[in-house]
Each structure stands twice: as C-alpha cells, then as structure tokens.
Amino acid sequence: MRLRVSDVSKRFEGVTAVNSVSLDCSAGEIVGLIGPNGAGKTTLLNMISSLLDVDAGEITIDGRAVHNIGPRRTAIGGIARTFQNIRLFANLTVRQNIEVAFTTARRHRASALGSVTIERLMEQWGVAEFADRKASELSYGTQRRVEIARALALAPDFLLLDEPTAGMVEGESQDLVKAIMAIREWKGCGVIVIDHDLSFITSVCERIYVLDMGSLVASGPPSVLRDDPKVAEIYLGRKARRRLEEGTDEHRQSRQ
C-alpha cells in the first residue's frame, strides 16, 4: 500500500501554507516530516486527514483519491492521526476514548482489525492501569499515549503523528521510539511523523522530508539533515548541527 501526495497546495488568505508538495509513504515505512515553524507540516497533515481541503493536487492511496472527502471517510479509508494540541475526549474514560475509534474499525475496517482489541491496545501503550480514568485527569505524557492508542484502534493503514514527543522528557521520547517501531512490526502500517526532536526523528525514520515556507526543500535518509547545507541553515542552526555532526548523545557531548 502506498500513500502518495502529489503537488498539493494550500493557501490561507494571503499565506501559501503548502506549495505544491509531493511525498509518499509505503506500508511499513516510517517517514519524518520536519521543517521550521510555520513551514506547513501540520497543514499538510490536515490535508492528508481531510480536515482541510486541498486547493490543488491530489492525495491517493494505491491510486485511489482520498483528498477532500472529509475526515470521517478518510478515517474509514485507513488514515488515522494525532494532534499537535492533544485532542482527547476529556470526559470519556481512556477505554471509551479508544472505543470511539474501535467502533468505527469494527464496522468499517473489520478485515484490517485482525486481533486488535481495546484491551491489547491499552496494554501495548501502557495505559491499561488508567482504563477507567477520565482522559482529562491524566498527565501530559499519558495523554499522548492514549491519543496514539486511539488512532491505532482504527486499524489504520497509515498513521500520522504530529509532534508526539512535545512536552516529554528525554526518557519518554526514547520509549516512544521503541513503541513506534513496534507499530510497524505489528500492523505493518505506514507512519508519517512530525517532530522537532532530532534524536527522535533520526532514530525512528527511514526517510525524511524537509519543508520550508510551504515547499519541499529536501528529502532522503536522515543524513540529509547533516549533509544538506540548506537544511542546516533553515532548520538546524549552528548548535544543533554541531551536535548532529558530533554524535547523538546530546547530554554527554554538550557537557564537555
């Protein structure tokens, strides 16, 4: 299965948020989407999940157009997502949060569902102990995990994650790396992830795309981060670049 974004554009009165961007992601692949603030990453994700209509271009899964069909049909079609600002159903319990998506999957994606159950998802994402707690009572990191578990309950073919590590301490980000790797093993779905945590991105992604001012400026293996001077200039800045070049163990390196 292949999700393909072809020459997609989006304008908001006066601002071209996304300008003729193309990318693709295959089943089982983890693709990173990075770029400066306001580059259009979230906007692109919004278009893939049909929260925004595309102004031009098309988005397809195996040739089947999936843009401008509304978020619900996108979800049924196998694309699940999380949000940059966590959007859980605050007054529902963790189990019910996941059940919302699971109900959809049971009705519309039964074949993809396989052995997925709500209980298993909660186990996998370490939220089983909170199963009957309201989402609003959880700490930030836990909320993030519930949101991912909810997205996975759709048994998606493609999972879109918008800054999953924001607000997590480093240890938690490391755990997340493992968990995301596991998603792929487990369901074989493709993952597109936006994040600003470079060690996270470089450890999970096979390929990355770099956006700037709405346009794609680079793509390739994570090493483009280091190797492409343009990326370094618009996105990394001196220090981060130096750190990347020197190795990944941030803490020890910068303590010298």
Binding site: N37, Y140, G167, E170, G171, E172, H196, L198, K239, H251
Partner: protein, 238 residues
C-alpha cells in the same frame, strides 16, 4: 528579587507542590527542572496567583505578594510566558502584542519593544494581521514569548519556551535569554531541554513529585550524572 518560602499547592487531594522554597536574585537566570508532573507549572502558576497557594509566602522585591492578584503582580514587573502558549486565538498577532504591553505605561518603551521583537521573530511581522489561533504551534510560541516581554518586565518566568520550536528557533530563544540576561533582566526558566537550560542558568532547582531534590549552581546539577539520569531521563537509561 523573587522569594518563595515553603510554598505548597494542592488541587483537592493532589499535592502538586509541597513546601518549596526558592529564590531568584536580581539579574540571575534560574533554571527550574523536573520531569512531567513534577509541579513546575503549578509552582509558576502559584507565583502568578492563578492557582491558590495553600501555604507559604511569596515575596517580590521585598513585598509580600502571596495574595496579590495576577494583574497587580504583572504591573509590579512580573512577566510570564505560560505553558501551552495561551495566545489569544481570536485576536490578531498585533492585538496580542498590544495587550501584552498593557502593563507598560510608557508609549515609547512599547514601540521600542514592539520593533525589537518583530525584528527578532520576523514571522510575527509577516503574520501581523493574522488571527493568532491560526498560527502554527511554533509561531504561537514565539508570539507568547514576545507578548510577555512587551511590557518590559523586571522578571520573566518562561514555562518551556522551546516547546514545539524548530532547533534553529530554539537556538534563537536561548540567544535571546542570554541577551536578556546580559541586559539585566531576571529570568526563571522552566525547561525540558535540560542541557541548554543549565548551560545558560546561574543556579538551578530540581523538582520531583512536588518536592525539591536539588538546589545549587547550575553547573553542579549539570555535572551530576545521577540526578540528571534519575530525574530527567537524560542519557537514555531510566
């Protein structure tokens, strides 16, 4: 300049901050570190007065401000860039900045500050008339930081200012902090990005489960592998 004496904060049964004493001297940068849920934001909110202090006292510039209203504190010279950015989503960037300057009576200062931050964060200039709610996450963060500096406070409290920012902007933020420090501004900095924070701070506090686990020179904390690994997960092992 800012002094907290055994301050506690409760949310019903949850004791978010337990008897924490902390001080920030004039011109200092103090880092406040701790894992998720440690109580950092609660502490800052208590200082601002938007969550009630259940015990303890807070002094600012020698005055007891434990029970002063947030607006009074801001007028006395405390600025805050809060967790979660909290930009006024239904106002434009320009209007957000204008409101940020409410506590600054001097028009000239306001104009000067505005020019300064628009130059520092050019994206704000480009999005000047756009509703803040439609800004990207990182743009909002830049706006939140600029907004709290508009009134030229005497002390600012920055709650995770680098959250959701691209590395290049993070760098800019830390450059800004350094610059503000050089200009004599007092800063209380809450950060997940411990290394950066400690490298710029004079002193540091480490908070965990609502209690202080360390206080002292920033460099000492930085060098304490134990503390950093144990509480901040830095270094990979947990």
């Amino acid at each position: 300049m800012l002094e907290l004496e055994s301050v506690s904060v409760d949310y019903g049964a949850v004791k978010a901050v337990q008897s924490v004493s902390l001080r920030v001297e004039e011109g200092e940068v103090v880092a406040l570190l701790g894992p998720n849920g440690a109580g950092k934001t609660s502490l800052i909110s208590a200082v601002m007065g938007i969550v009630p202090v259940s015990s303890g006292t807070i002094r600012f510039a020698g005055q007891d401000v434990t029970f002063a209203s947030p607006e009074d504190k801001v007028r006395k010279g405390i600025g805050i860039s809060p967790e979660g950015r909290r930009v006024f989503s239904n106002l434009t960037v320009a209007e957000n900045l204008q409101l940020g300057a409410s506590a600054q009576p001097d028009k000239a200062v306001r104009a000067e500050q505005l020019a300064k931050y628009l130059e520092m964060f050019p994206i704000l200039k480009q999005r000047y008339r756009q509703k803040a709610g439609t800004l990207s996450g990182g743009e909002q963060q830049q706006l939140a930081i600029s907004r709290c500096l508009m009134s030229r406070p005497r002390i600012v409290m920055l709650d995770e200012p680098s959250l959701g920012l691209a590395p290049v902007i993070v760098e800019k933020i830390f450059d800004l902090i350094a610059e503000l420090k050089a200009s004599g501004l007092t800063i209380l900095l809450v950060e997940q990005n411990a290394n950066e924070a400690l490298s710029i701070a004079d002193r540091a506090y480490l908070l965990h489960s609502g209690r202080l686990r360390f206080e002292g020179a920033a460099q000492d904390l930085f060098n304490s592998d134990d503390l950093m690994t144990h509480y901040m997960g830095v270094g990979g092992a947990q």
